[in-house]
């Protein structure tokens, strides 16, 4: 356990040293590391926990005691899962320490809390899947199926729909429910003959159907009200993608949630000079771009310049984490139509509408929302170029 804790802290140390003025990207990268590496550790750990009594020949002693089977199953699971959560604490402490040592401050550290919560749910699902499979099959090798699922999702991002990914924030409730279902099933079915004529406890009877029904309802919602060309396309997103960003023409519009969950459109704030940036919030360039936008907002916000960042990320919680972590006050929108694709322009309807070929991307509009400048890649977050583009608009239309 001590070695695993040190290992976790080292992963956190490595992931936590990220770009940005705040802890946003550091928190996001740490959450991703937890969902990738620590999830595999959890699979291993919980598979062994399920088989520990048998491996130690302690089964006879434990099962000859009057404790109900379902309580034994759940208590053993919670004990091992709690150990995984301790490793997760180690990971985030390592990340925060790394960030603090390298940057001298950990501003926006609340982002770590949000990512800890996300990771805890993901690890709950990984743990419950590994534990239940290993317990019901009677071998820790069965738990490895959960690990294989993880590897397949990591390797198959261009082929699998977003709904299959436990570590996307929008899927957390569904996979959390699925975890409850799996643990409920294990508690209900494992050594059910041991109960004799006594019925299972009420919670044991209720957990698996509640978990399963919740997971199915949530999965239906994700598919029906989401956007994923590999599953089901949203008519709203299809409409957005049919627009076209053309110089001197009105910029494509969109209606997307900001970092506080409020639906935001460009038409909500008429008469502004918009600096519309499409960014990948997981990349260093993306965070640099967001920091540039904050500078612009601070310097030119009073003159009617409004930066609007659209985050192209499959994880719908990424924009919120980075925005809060970097303490951004301008709208940072989540493009919930983002999906797995090899090219940026194909990865989201908004990116398609703006004909993006490289991220980050910036479109600067005039006060009538006509596109007047388009910058991509390294040019997009080049300070002087951005300044020049915005100054030109302000010179043309001071108010």
């Amino acid at each position: 356990m001590k070695a695993a804790l040190v290992f976790s802290a080292l992963i956190g140390w490595s992931a936590g040293n990220a770009m940005g003025d705040g802890a946003g990207l550091s928190a996001l990268a740490t959450g991703d590391a937890a969902c990738t590496y620590l999830a595999l550790v959890a699979v291993y750990w919980l598979s062994l926990a399920a088989a520990r009594d048998a491996a130690l020949s302690a089964t006879s002693i434990v099962l000859s005691k009057p404790q109900p089977t379902e309580r034994l199953v759940v208590a053993r699971f919670l004990g091992a899962y709690l150990q995984v959560l301790v490793l997760l604490v180690g990971l985030f402490i390592g990340a925060a320490a790394s960030r603090w040592i390298h940057s001298g401050a950990v501003a926006g550290s609340s982002a770590y809390l949000a990512q800890y919560g996300r990771s805890a749910v993901v690890l709950f699902f990984a743990s419950s899947a590994a534990y239940s499979l290993a317990l019901m099959a009677g071998t820790p090798l069965a738990g490895a199926l959960a690990g294989m699922y993880w590897i397949v999702t990591l390797a198959g991002q261009e082929y699998l729909a977003k709904v299959y990914y436990p570590y996307y924030t929008q899927n957390l409730a569904m996979f959390g429910s699925l975890g409850v279902f799996l643990i409920g099933m294990a508690a209900r079915l494992h050594r059910r003959g041991r109960r004799g004529s006594a019925p299972p406890q009420v919670w044991c009877r209720a957990a698996w159907p509640v978990g399963l029904i919740s997971a199915l309802i949530l999965a239906r919602g994700i598919v029906l009200y989401g956007h994923d060309p590999l599953m089901l396309e949203s008519p709203v997103m299809a409409e957005i993608s049919r627009q076209d960003a053309v110089m001197h023409k009105r910029s494509p519009g969109f209606l997307l949630p900001d970092q506080n969950g409020r639906l935001t459109a460009l038409s909500d704030t008429p008469g502004k000079v918009f600096v519309i940036a499409l960014v990948d919030p997981r990349s260093d360039e993306g965070v640099l771009m967001l920091d540039r936008l904050r500078d612009l907002h601070e310097r030119y916000g009073g003159q009617g310049v409004l930066p609007v960042a659209v985050c192209i990320a499959n994880d719908e919680g990424a924009a919120r984490t980075v925005a809060h972590g970097e303490r951004l006050r301008y709208p940072v929108l989540t493009d919930w139509g983002s999906h797995h694709a090899p090219k940026a322009a194909e990865a989201s309807p908004v990116a398609g509408a703006y004909r993006v070929t490289d991220l980050p991307y910036v479109a600067v509009t005039d006060r009538r929302r006509r596109v007047r400048e388009m910058l991509e890649g390294i040019n997009a977050y080049d300070g002087p170029q951005l300044d020049k583009a915005v100054s030109a608009r302000l010179a043309e239309e001071p108010k």
């Binding site: 020949s57 009057p66 004799g196």
Partner: protein, 304 residues
């Protein structure tokens, strides 16, 4: 009064009727068995594979019987499993414990499994159990660092935590050195004074030392139930001792059931079981439990 004392409490009874266990592949672990086990130490004696552990596993609710029924303190082992587990303490034959936990932590965990939720009461029970099995000096030592005898005593302590009316111990002296074996037997004798103890063993010395009643099992069937003295009576008048050598020795050993051999100068003293004197020079001797046990095994072999 010690929490482990059952004096004055209602005496428990184990009633077994037609209990049978079939394993996959047509192997019968235990044929229809009828037994009533009352107070004192009840020993199940038999060779490996005789069905002792099968019977014990069914009584401890770890194994589902194929047919028949059994009641422990009036609770049916098929339907009232939790209640059965509540009144018994069980020490399995080959058991493991969590190596990184100390003796105290192990017993604390087992106490929780017994639903001893009150910490003060649990601690008191643990301390009593530790004192009873004489493990006070190693209470804070990790299980991984205990000797085989100490490990066995921790096993006994965990079986005592719920102050069981019925204590079931499977081969508790197997693999122990002679000193530790005597120590475990003494503990069982003391425990058997105020509760029912079912002891499974393949060692006749265990039966001779501590059992009030013995049941001999062979190939899944009970061959004898009664007192150890009564067991000796099953071969009374049939045990002979002969001094022989050479071909005569070979002939005797081939013809009769031999129960012991002892070198006597150039010759050998042979104990055999025979209905009648096996030749000149054979003298009748007082039967031992070994003689009776081998005699019962021989009969069992014939019956099968």
């Amino acid at each position: 009064m010690s929490p482990f004392s059952q004096r004055g409490a209602d005496k428990l009874k184990v009633e077994i009727e037609g209990l049978r266990k079939d394993y996959d592949g047509g192997v019968v672990g235990l044929y229809e068995t009828d037994l009533t086990i009352g107070e004192g130490i009840f020993a199940l004696l038999g060779p490996n594979g005789a069905g002792k552990s099968t019977l014990m596993s069914m009584l401890t609710t770890l194994l589902e019987p194929t047919a028949g029924s059994a009641r422990v303190a009036g609770f049916d082992i098929r339907h009232r499993k939790e209640q059965v587990r509540g009144v018994l303490g069980y020490l399995p034959q080959d058991f493991g414990l969590y190596p990184s936990l100390t003796v105290f932590e192990t017993l604390d965990y087992i106490g929780l499994l017994y639903n001893l939720r009150d910490r003060a009461e649990r601690t008191s029970r643990i301390e009593e159990a530790i004192a009873r099995v004489n493990l006070g000096e190693v209470r804070d030592r990790q299980i991984a660092h205990l000797s085989g005898g100490m490990h066995q005593r921790v096993g006994l302590a965990q079986a005592l935590l719920n102050n069981p009316k019925l204590l079931i111990v499977d081969e508790p002296t197997a693999g122990l050195d002679p000193e530790e074996r005597i120590r475990v037997r003494s503990m069982l004798t003391e425990l058997g004074r105020d509760r029912v103890v079912i002891l499974s063993t393949h060692l006749i010395e265990d039966v001779a030392a501590i059992a009030d009643t013995v049941a001999v099992l062979h190939r899944g069937r009970i061959r004898y139930v009664g007192t150890p003295a009564g067991m000796r009576d099953t071969v009374r008048g049939q045990v002979w001792q002969i001094s022989a050598a050479g071909d005569r020795l070979s002939e005797i050993r081939g013809r009769y059931t031999e129960t012991a051999l002892q070198r006597d100068g150039d010759r050998v003293l042979v104990r055999v079981i025979a209905e009648e004197a096996p030749g000149d020079g054979a003298t009748p001797v007082e039967p031992t439990l070994d003689d009776a046990y081998i005699g019962l095994m021989r009969e069992g072999g014939r019956a099968n």
